[in-house]
């Protein structure tokens, strides 16, 4: 079923989109989060986070479980109230609005479709429950529902029940249902978490297309960094109730500003080093690596496995012994033990590399980040 619809994905008539985009709010909305904190009982879930979401942006809240990303999303939705702080929708104080009044479109991981209603009835629900003054006619509601079905590429399925749809189709219905109320803000809570890997990838692409066409300000929560980096205009990396870094996917990947972000995004190898008078020293060996403004004292050296060069006589490189070697997609992965304490780092080299287990090797990172070692307990 999905394959058939997937084929349709490639030829969506351009005209189908215009009415929906027009019918919404005139301008995409700006969202401002000011110093929002949330405690559940005595447990803090969010420690005073601040964030600016630009109109029409697609923002990812990325982090491990417990990072507070879902809490922040629910606060934006009006499902939870912060213990302190402000949330502004454009200029308005959003916290004085109930969920119903906020006009946000919510999409959940488990779809939350109304099982006893058809697809068309689900999509039209938000319009049917409006007070009489603002409620469109039955014909109009039906027309809009069918239009949205076209937008999400599920034409013809309006009489089906959710139990008769695949996961990917259900999520698209959930999307259409959220779009039907012309939301100012779209909030997606791990929207693809319940789907197979392949469907997930297809829907990611689809989401980006929909967003580009309709232009809603969109915030989505995910723990999958691949998804965040692929989809978002900007990524908000969160950890332990705090925002670690906000930036474009490139910025997050290439210029992580903390050891958490470096190790959470992409792959990383890490070594404890000492910075002495601007020089980086590992195991009493000076390395050919600039300290780049990192203060003197103990520090952590982060680099990605792919960003190294090796040789037998590289000056200022880290000497080590290969302890394991394997194939990794089209390249060669090596575990190398370095230093007296036997730290293990992982490096990636072209598959032609010949060195074997127990061979000696010297490793020099070409790109790296240095983060000062936090005092004990940080």
């Amino acid at each position: 079923m999905d394959a058939r619809v997937e084929n349709e994905m490639n030829d969506v008539p351009a005209g189908a989109l215009a009415p929906v985009a027009e019918a919404g709010w005139d301008e995409p909305m700006q969202v401002t989060v000011e110093d929002v904190a949330k405690k559940f009982g005595l447990t803090p879930a969010l420690h005073g986070v601040s964030l600016d979401i630009h109109p029409g942006e697609l923002v990812a809240l990325l982090g491990p479980s417990g990072s507070g990303k879902t809490t922040l999303l629910r606060i934006l939705a009006g499902l939870d109230i912060p213990s302190s702080g402000r949330v502004l929708f454009d200029e308005d104080d959003a916290l004085t609005l109930t969920v119903q009044e906020r006009h946000v479109g919510l999409v959940f991981q488990n779809y939350a479709l109304f099982r006893h209603m058809t697809v068309a009835e689900n999509i039209g629900f938000g319009l049917r429950v409006r007070p009489r003054a603002r409620r469109p006619s039955r014909k109009e509601i039906r027309r809009r529902a069918l239009e949205l079905l076209d937008l999400v590429q599920l034409t013809g399925l309006e009489k089906r029940y959710p139990s008769q749809l695949s996961g990917g189709q259900r999520q698209r219905v959930a999307f259409a249902r959220a779009l039907a109320i012309e939301p100012r803000l779209l909030l997606l809570d791990e929207p693809f978490g319940a789907l197979d890997a392949k469907v997930r990838r297809d829907l990611r692409r689809w989401l980006r297309e929909i967003h580009d066409k309709t232009g809603h300000t969109t915030v989505f929560v995910t723990h999958d960094q691949e998804e965040a980096l692929e989809l978002a205009d900007r990524v908000v990396v969160m950890n332990d109730g705090r925002i670690e870094q906000v930036g474009t996917p490139d910025e997050i990947y290439d210029e992580p500003n903390s050891h958490f972000v470096f190790s959470f995004i992409g792959e990383s190898s890490e070594l404890p080093v000492l910075v002495e008078r601007g020089k980086v020293v590992f195991d009493k060996l000076p390395l050919n690596i600039a300290a780049r403004g990192c203060r003197d004292g103990p520090a952590r050296l982060f680099f990605r496995p792919q960003d190294v060069e090796v040789g037998s006589d590289l000056s200022g490189a880290i000497p080590g012994v290969i302890s394991m070697r394997r194939r990794h997609a089209g390249a060669r992965r090596l575990d190398v033990e370095v230093g007296r304490a036997g730290h293990r780092i992982e490096i990636e080299l072209p598959s032609q590399f010949e060195g074997g287990v127990r061979g000696r090797i010297a490793v020099l990172p070409r790109r790296w980040r240095l983060f000062p070692q936090e005092p004990e307990g940080a």
Partner: protein, 281 residues
């Protein structure tokens, strides 16, 4: 006897005792349940259709059957309304005494019907706690069909509550949050989204309460007036016929009761199967 038969029919298994277990089960089942019920069926059949029909359509019989079924339907309906409220309150709210109330819901299951019968009569008789309050207004509960209704509400009370409770407990919060985010106020969310989703469980509880009420005897005969044509329930009529040694009449009424109840239950099971197919479990 059942051993060889059993081995031929079932999938081979390393676990022993199939023949013994199934043989004993079938024997016991036949002796206690099937043969006695067969006796009923045979006796009813031996009346012939016209004989059966004459007994069942006799005025007194019709009155008793109608009374039993109508009041059972009404009592089950009352239990639906209040049962949903009770289930809702027990699942979704916290208040002092909630656990005690939750426990007491099962009382009609545990309490012997005769005890319930005399207790209810004591309360609703003209000199009872509630009966006494209403008597000055000319409202009589005990010894009238109204009393029967009260007893049947008592007897069916746990059924709706216990079938709705687990469904409510498992109800996804996200569905409610989704409905709210789409603009539905609380009343709309409850009536358009949640109650329809509870309908299968409610129907199940209704059928169970109804089936129990139709056949109920002990809780009813004390509080009913047992006046023929007015407040005489079908089970009582069966007993009366038995005491008159009119076995044929008793059997016919019993068969009619079983038949009608069977049809109602079948209907509702069909509705539920249709729902399951449409909406998924």
């Amino acid at each position: 006897m059942a051993g060889a038969r059993g081995l031929a029919l079932k999938r081979p298994s390393a676990i022993p005792g199939f023949g013994l277990a199934l043989g004993f089960t079938l024997t016991y089942l036949s002796l206690i349940v099937l043969i006695p019920l067969a006796a009923l069926a045979i006796k009813a059949a031996s009346l012939g259709f016209s004989g059966f029909w004459d007994i069942v359509t006799a005025p007194r019989t019709l009155a008793a059957l109608r009374l039993s079924f109508v009041i059972s339907l009404i009592a089950a309906a009352i239990n639906v309304v209040f049962g949903v409220v009770v289930a809702w309150v027990l699942v979704r709210y916290r208040f002092p005494g909630r656990r005690l109330l939750d426990a007491i819901v099962d009382l009609p299951f545990a309490l012997p019907t005769a005890v319930a019968g005399i207790a209810l009569t004591a309360i609703y008789a003209p000199n009872g706690w509630i009966g006494g309050l209403l008597d000055p207004f000319g409202v009589k509960i005990a010894y009238t069909p109204l009393g029967i209704g009260i007893a049947l509400v008592f007897i069916g009370l746990p059924f709706v509550v216990r079938t709705v409770q687990p469904v409510l407990e498992d109800f996804e919060r996200e569905i409610e949050e989704g409905a709210a985010s789409l603009g539905a106020n609380r009343r709309q969310t409850i009536f358009r989204v949640m109650l329809p989703a509870l309908l299968p469980a409610i129907l199940t509880g209704f059928v169970l309460a109804f089936a129990r009420a139709v056949g109920e005897y002990g809780s009813v005969i004390f509080i009913a007036g047992n006046i023929p044509f007015v407040s005489e329930i079908a089970p009582l009529l069966i007993v009366i016929r038995l005491e008159e040694f009119s076995h044929a009449q008793a059997t016919a009424i019993a068969a009619a009761m079983l038949g009608i109840a069977f049809v109602v239950i079948l209907l509702i099971n069909l509705i539920q199967a249709w729902q399951r197919r449409r909406f998924g479990t």
